[in-house]
Amino acid sequence: MRKRNKVSDQKNRQTETVRRIIKRVAKYRFSIFFSLLSAAVTVAASLYIPVLTGRAVDEVTGPGKVDFAGLFRILTVMGITIGVMSLFQWVMNICNNRITFGVVKDIRKEAFEKLSILPLNYIDSHSHGDTVSRVIADVDQFADGLLMGFTQFFTSAMTIIGTLVFMLTINVWITLVVVLITPLSFFVAGFIVKRTYRMFRKQSEERGKQTALINEIVGNQKVVQAFSHQDEALEEFDRINQKLEKYSMDALFFSSLTNPSTRFVNAIVYAGVGVAGAMAAIGGLLSVGQLVSFLSYATQYTKPFNEISGVVSELQNAIACAARILELIDEEPQKPDDADAVRLSLAESGGEYRTGEVLFEHVSFSYVPEKPLIEDFNLDAKPGMRIAIVGPTGCGKTTLINLLMRFYDVNTGTIRVEGYDTQRVTRKSLRASFGMVLQETWLKNGTIRENIAMGKPDASDQEIIEAAKAAHADGFIRRLRDGYDTVITGDGGSLSQGQKQLLCISRIMLCLPPMLILDEATSSIDTRTEQRIQDAFTRMMKGRTSFIVAHRLSTIRNADRILVMKSGHIVEQGTHEELLRLKGFYAGLYNAQWSGT
């Protein structure tokens, strides 16, 4: 890990984050350079224009007294300045564009690639919503905040300094008037910001309550409608909605006072400059043209100050976002496959079947070190065997599957497939040799066809339909809106749990891997269809090794061997009949389930 810097000092961590941000942005150093250069030119030019305007006005002293030659010269310079300014502003915009979207793209790519090599452990133990918002929202905010904040800070600072310099060159005393009145604007803005913060907090609290209700009611709208509960729900919704309206109103109104208030301060500065400037002009200390220049500075002098005060919080927010993204990018990835790792050929060629032997040798595993789960686990699955795993919740059934697929790695001991230690086999080839169906069906956004073809994207339509037929899914698929081209969104929408399971089984039927893992894969499918699917599996896979986790006895009883697990150990094993005769734990489970009928 790169977290050598274990100094808990927050300041240091911030600097570290900034340092690493700079490293990622460095790729765009030419764009940044041009952006800053252009910004400098733009600011200088835009500040020079009021001076030129002032000088032009000074050439126009009164009727018959206009120096047209001088005026023409000034206006020519002004034209060139404007041309240069517009050009550089455009260059600056283009550069900023490149930097912002480039950085966003790079970081997102890096983050996503990290996601695909993170150990399952990370993904299982972190909220998905949080991870998604790191990859999407945080990256956006970071790029916007940092880069725009940075350029804004730069231009604002340049503007302030430039304005001061220009004003000082014209007249020191009037400059003082401007400088003295300006802090008033900070004071006003600060006062408003502090008050609105509280109101925004209240608003977001109420909004959170409302979102929770919306999630519940809209998310379960079908049940709501089934009980004609819409009116009651609406009543409750309205109650929160009214409160939210009030808090939103407060927050929106008070926060919108900032702009008019600063404009007011600006106007005071303007009036102040007007009176001081006019008096100075009478005294001959200032020309009318210079007064005009001053007035136009006065209107824009406070603006960069307000922007800078916004920039500070924006930058802080950007750094916080960056830290969250870097945290994800820094996560330790899973151990990469060894360079000389074995590729299980059955997965690669698809043709030649191996035997499908699986061996667990003294395997121990736990998710958290304090809570040992599987200890000294041994299993010898002979080729072609159907192995059923039963046991109470939390006994480690699903964990075995996690280990077989190498979603998690064993702590000690070895798992061998085809005689190879799975740690020495490429993950891809190992996983490809298992066909896995889980109870928690997962379908990707896309058509039914794409979902079935997941393991074999180049499958022909014919193959896909054959697979669906084998999984007894063809019938219901044909009845859907667009048949195989029906688009599935979200969690499968209107499909029933059983139908989703049939789709997941179709996927496996298409690839026909040499070994099978079924974790409650048929729990929502009716027993009759289930049996036919089992038959199809047996037929099509010529009796390959399979691991079946199930509650249903009809699923288990034909297994060649039943493993009865309890707290990470095998307590009994044998065939259904053998285990019943044993009158042990299995017989107990079995009787409990059936005593009702």
């Binding site: 793209k105 609406l234 309205d238 007011f264």
Partner: protein, 579 residues
């Protein structure tokens, strides 16, 4: 956005007053250059100090009045915006309550939630911004031009030329970028979906070794998005430099021709300065307007998406017929008359030509394989969907002629997914009957085999239920949903595979209790378990959307191939266990 205007009508006053006060503020702002011109022409030229003082007091006064107007404007704008959003949220929420199940299926719950939350928030921001600034800016622009005409017609013509040019630039860029921003948004949605999909489906994706393909897919989407964003950026990045160029070029022209006018004593020097000031006021407003466009175009896109949902009409409408409370003698409680259902024009029929009659008090079992159409049949009874062909009748009345709410009040449904809501157990039960007494609740719970575990909870009926009922086990949730359906003493009770999380013993007790309910009810039990339906008065066997057989358990067993197969797949085990 136009489609959402009706939601603003109640705030007509605010919608007029906010821009009006904003304009008032703008007018005071427009006077400032005139005052300054007076200071230059009169105050400085005549060295009149008191006059300068008076003019400065006037400037201060203008600023103060401007501030007051601005605050008033902001107040009304905020009122209109929050009121608009509140009303819109209310209507959308109400509208979602009226959507048909078909509508909910096609739009998707998660989309509906987004529309209700972030989209409306964006629309609110849009209304607020529009009222505050979108009208102010054009007003200042045109106001400045009018003021210019007051000073000198010939000079003002420069304004009259400049402003249309600027409008073309601003609105042209806006017209080009708006659809692009919409595409950017959907590109962003795309990479968001891919990311969350890859987290949810991580096991399956890795099992199929698709990590690299997914990373490539993401990279592709990411690249497309970045390209699109850059393309928009290039175009919208032209806005500031171009407006700056035009305004300043106009200023140069103004200075030169103004100088000629001053030379010819047509206008004063102060007036020339005022003209220049007006030009720069136009520039400031245009820059603001340009920055606003992004916010407003986002809000417009959101408004469109909200309006799309609001325009979804439900196909299920109330009829004006009366639903008889009791069927007449000899009339079935539920009758299906050659009913077919097709979820969409193109797809095949989900169920075809279903005909059966259920007499009052009968228990009907519906059994069949996954996807055989069992649920589709019972979904037609409470009008979750409407039949494509044929008629469904309750107590002799065609359901399409009755009021939806009346039908649903008469039917108790226990859905497949056991959904409970945040609150207490009692509150959840009251969904079925809003004025249920404690005794009624107890009875319903007892029949649903739930009283035992409810009684063991520390606060019994008032035990809190967390969101989605997560603090209860699957079996407990399911039993509570059954009690919820029973409590209203419905004439028709539909159990849609609702005992799947129950063990066989509880399931049996539940069925026995339902058989002995104190009121007369027609029960539909949908199940995959032969044991759940074997005691029904009649069993309907479904296969591929059609009725494959009807009869009692004894009649079907042996004679109906499908039923026999289902039965034996589940009961052979028991027999061998007994052996």
């Amino acid at each position: 956005m136009r489609r959402l205007f009706p939601f603003l009508t109640e705030y007509r006053k605010e919608c007029v007053l906010a821009p009006l006060f904003k304009m008032l503020e703008a007018i005071f702002e427009l006077f400032v250059p005139l005052v300054m011109a007076a200071i230059i022409d009169t105050g400085i030229a005549k060295r009149d100090l008191p006059y300068i003082g008076r003019m400065c007091a006037l400037l201060f006064f203008l600023a103060a009045v401007g501030l007051a107007s601005a605050i008033t404007a902001q107040y009304y704008a905020a009122r209109a915006a929050t009121g608009f959003a509140t009303k819109l949220r209310h209507s959308l929420f109400e509208h979602i309550g009226k959507l048909s199940f078909y509508g909910i299926d096609t739009v998707g719950s998660s989309t509906l939630i987004t529309r209700m939350t972030s989209d409306i928030n964006q629309a609110q921001a849009g209304v607020n911004m529009t009222l505050r600034l979108f009208l102010r800016s054009p007003f200042i622009v045109f106001g400045a031009m009018i003021m210019a005409f007051q000073i000198n017609v010939k000079e003002a013509l420069i304004f009259a030329v400049t402003i249309p040019v600027l409008s073309v630039i601003v609105f042209g860029i806006m017209a080009v970028t708006m659809p692009m921003y919409r595409r950017v948004q959907s590109g962003l949605d795309g990479i968001l979906n891919t990311t969350s999909e890859n987290l949810e489906g991580v096991r399956v994706i890795r099992a199929f070794g698709r990590e690299e393909d997914e990373a490539r897919r993401f990279a592709g989407q990411n690249e497309t998005l970045a390209d699109l964003q850059r393309a928009v950026g290039r175009i919208s990045g032209l806005m500031n430099p171009l407006t700056l160029l035009v305004v300043n070029a106009a200023t140069i022209v103004l200075l030169y021709s103004g100088a000629c006018q001053v030379d010819a004593a047509v206008i004063t020097r102060g007036e020339l300065v005022a003209l220049v000031n007006y030009m720069s006021q136009i520039l400031v407003e245009l820059v603001k307007l340009a920055n606003l466009i992004v916010t407003i175009s986002k809000a417009l896109a959101c408004a469109d998406r909200i309006a799309d949902v609001l325009e979804l009409r439900t196909e299920i409408t109330d009829g004006d017929g009366v639903l008889p409370a009791e069927p007449a003698e000899g009339v079935p409680a539920v009758e299906f008359d050659h009913v077919s259902l097709r979820y969409a024009e193109s797809g095949e029929e989900a169920i075809s030509d279903i005909t059966f009659r259920a007499m009052p008090g009968e228990t009907i079992g519906i059994i069949g394989g996954t996807g055989s159409g069992k649920s589709s049949v019972v979904n037609l009874i409470p009008r979750f969907y409407d039949a494509t062909e044929g008629a469904v009748r309750i107590n002799g009345a065609d359901v399409k002629d009755c009021r939806v709410e009346e039908i649903r009040d008469k039917t108790g449904v226990v859905p497949q997914k056991a959904v409970l809501f945040k609150g207490t157990i009692a509150e959840n039960l009251r969904w079925g009957k809003s004025d249920a007494t404690e005794k009624e609740m107890m009875e319903a719970l007892k029949a649903a085999q739930a009283w035992e575990f409810v009684q063991e909870k520390p606060r019994k009926l008032n035990e809190p239920v967390s969101e989605g009922g997560k603090n209860l086990s699957g079996g407990q949730r399911q039993r509570l949903t059954i009690a919820r359906a029973l409590i209203g003493q419905p004439g028709i009770l539909i159990l849609d595979d609702s005992a799947s999380a129950l063990d066989f013993a509880t399931d049996a007790k539940l069925r026995a209790a339902i058989g002995k309910l104190s009121w007369k009810t027609t029960v539909f039990i949908v199940s995959q378990r032969a044991a759940s339906v074997m005691n029904a008065d009649r069993i309907i066997v479904m296969d591929n959307g059609r009725i494959a057989g009807t009869g009692t358990h004894e009649e079907l067993l042996g004679s109906n191939e499908i039923y026999t197969e289902i039965y034996s797949s589940q009961f052979e085990t028991t027999e061998s266990a007994g052996a």
